[in-house]
């Protein structure tokens, strides 16, 4: 039976070549190898988000009148509903952590260099999509903190000249944050963004497989002198088992966080109530939120808020274009490291200032 099934399947589903390739694939083993695992962990968390998101969809109702109540129902009546929701919320946060760790490790190890420019660009877009997932998912419980945070967040593009009003209306589905916004962000969150992310993840993985793991410049130089100095391990099964081990750790951490610190639901949003104290976005937007607070109303005749938005936009564009302008010479790599360090320190400091509440 098995003897005939295999050729039958191989003729219709030609995977032998792929398995053969994977069998010969190796992963370099050196002191920075640990950073190779963050991409896989981000992918694992993306899978968890797809799974738990699909489960939540079975009971969630995307309307202003029912959203909050349907989540109340999920966490109180549906067996393990509290767990599914908590894992979805916690995994979203861990995914942002892993994606940033992955991005900065690739940046500091200069893995964006030729021929991996498109891997880097697709990765940066995936990080932006991850943040968009966070932003659109934040409103879905329709509680007061997320309602006002979304009002603030969707109002920020209003400072963009000419197109500002249109962007705000586009994000809100109208002039205000209403049930229409909820339905719209829900559509982005469960249909448009997943479709885009799935395509980009496929491209990203394909590129990673085609190009293999990048060697940091220092290791590369050693390898150029003495190829035997760089050890490598087979992808199958050695690296894959290590990947699985990392995923198990993530899963264990996720289960512990979801069980011992279940995600709160808060109180239902009331559009006609004053904004409660302590309105803040998710922690990964806090640095931008804090930077906006420090911005004076006008800088050299330019609207301060617009200047901040323009600077962040320029930062995103610079991140996208990075492999096209840097990485070839040791000097340019040195600049990348300094700019990267400055970015990390700036984001960490702003986040810390926002968390400790020492805002002006």
């Amino acid at each position: 039976m098995r003897g005939r099934l295999r050729p039958w399947l191989e003729e219709r589903l030609p995977l032998a070549g792929l398995i053969e390739t994977l069998r010969h694939k190796t992963v370099p083993h050196h002191r920075y190898s640990v950073w190779y695992y963050f991409g896989g962990m981000t992918l694992f968390l993306f899978g968890i988000q797809v799974g738990t998101g699909a489960l939540l969809l079975l009971y969630y109702r995307p309307s202003a009148n029912e959203a909050y109540e349907s989540i109340q129902f999920i966490v109180t009546h549906v067996p393990f509903g509290w767990l599914v929701r908590s894992i979805h919320a916690w995994a979203a946060n861990l995914m942002v952590v892993c994606a940033f760790a992955h991005l900065f490790s690739v940046l500091f190890l200069h893995a964006y260099r030729r021929p991996r420019e498109l891997t880097w660009v697709s990765g940066v877009v995936l990080l932006l999509l991850t943040l968009a997932f966070g932003f659109t998912g934040y409103l879905l419980p329709w509680n007061d903190v997320s309602y006002f945070a979304t009002r603030v967040g969707t109002d920020i593009p209003a400072t963009v000249p000419a197109a500002g009003d249109f962007i705000v209306r586009f994000l809100r589905g109208g002039d205000d944050v209403t049930g229409a916004t909820l339905t719209r962000l829900f559509g982005f969150h469960v249909a448009i963004l997943p479709a885009l992310a799935t395509m980009l993840v496929a491209l990203h993985l394909l590129l990673v497989q085609r190009h293999g793991m990048s060697l940091p410049p220092s290791v590369e130089q050693r390898a150029a002198k003495d190829p035997a100095a760089i050890r490598a391990m087979p992808f199958l099964p050695h690296f894959l088992l290590r990947d699985l081990f990392a995923w198990t750790l993530v899963l264990a951490l996720l289960a512990a966080l979801a069980t011992f610190y279940p995600w709160e639901l808060g109180t239902k949003a009331d559009p006609f109530a004053p904004a409660p104290a302590g309105i803040r976005p998710e922690w990964y937007f806090l640095w931008a939120f804090q930077a906006l607070k420090y911005m004076p109303p006008r800088v050299a005749g330019i609207d301060g808020e617009f200047l901040a938005v323009a600077l962040m936009g320029a930062g995103a564009v610079a991140a996208l274009l990075l492999p096209l302008v840097a990485g070839r010479t040791p000097r340019s790599r040195q600049i990348v490291v300094w700019v990267g360090l400055f970015t990390v320190v700036f984001m960490a400091a702003m986040t810390w200032l926002a968390l400790t509440g020492s805002a002006p």
């Binding site: 489960l55 079975l58 009546h77 549906v78 599914v84 198990t248 899963l251």
Partner: protein
């Protein structure tokens, strides 16, 4: 414990035993994780029972506005009921859910029958299935009129 056939000597003698222990650990680990994921998902997928207050009687509108040889569908708890006035002037009420495939039935004054549009099923004015595919009669409810208000209730 059975000794594994060995080819070499020394360290290689214990290899098969160690390999099988490792495989067993790996399988237990994987199986445990899989079970701890699949069990909550299976429980989650089964819709929870929502205890519903059994509605015993509901108002079905004014009696004087329901002319002879006509009927109306009214909510009875979470499900529809049909209340009708026979050509002879008598009020009757039934569940409005067709016993064939769960469609909601309606009153056909031209046929003087309760009719289901989905598969052309027909019930007479006593709720008996008389034509088409319905396998069973409609459940009948009690009808009372208080101050021109029709009240239908489940038969105890």
């Amino acid at each position: 414990m059975p000794r594994h056939p060995t080819v070499g000597s020394g360290a290689s003698e214990i290899r098969p035993a160690r390999r099988s222990v490792l495989n067993w650990l790996l399988a237990t680990w994987g199986g445990g994780i899989l079970a701890s994921i699949l069990y909550p998902i299976a429980r989650y997928l089964a819709p929870p029972d929502i205890p519903e207050a059994p509605s015993l009687s509901v108002s079905a509108g004014g009696a004087s506005t329901l002319r002879p040889n006509s009927g109306r569908v009214v909510p009875f708890g979470s499900r529809p009921a049909i209340v009708l006035r026979t050509p002879g002037g008598e009020l009757r009420a039934f569940t409005a859910i067709c016993t064939h495939l769960d469609c909601t039935v309606q009153y056909r004054s031209d046929l003087q029958r309760i009719w289901c549009a989905c598969h052309n099923g027909e019930y007479d004015l006593n709720g008996r299935n008389v034509a088409g595919p319905p396998p069973r009669p409609l459940e009948a409810y009690d009808v009372n009129v208080k101050d021109d208000e029709i009240v239908i209730s489940r038969r105890s």
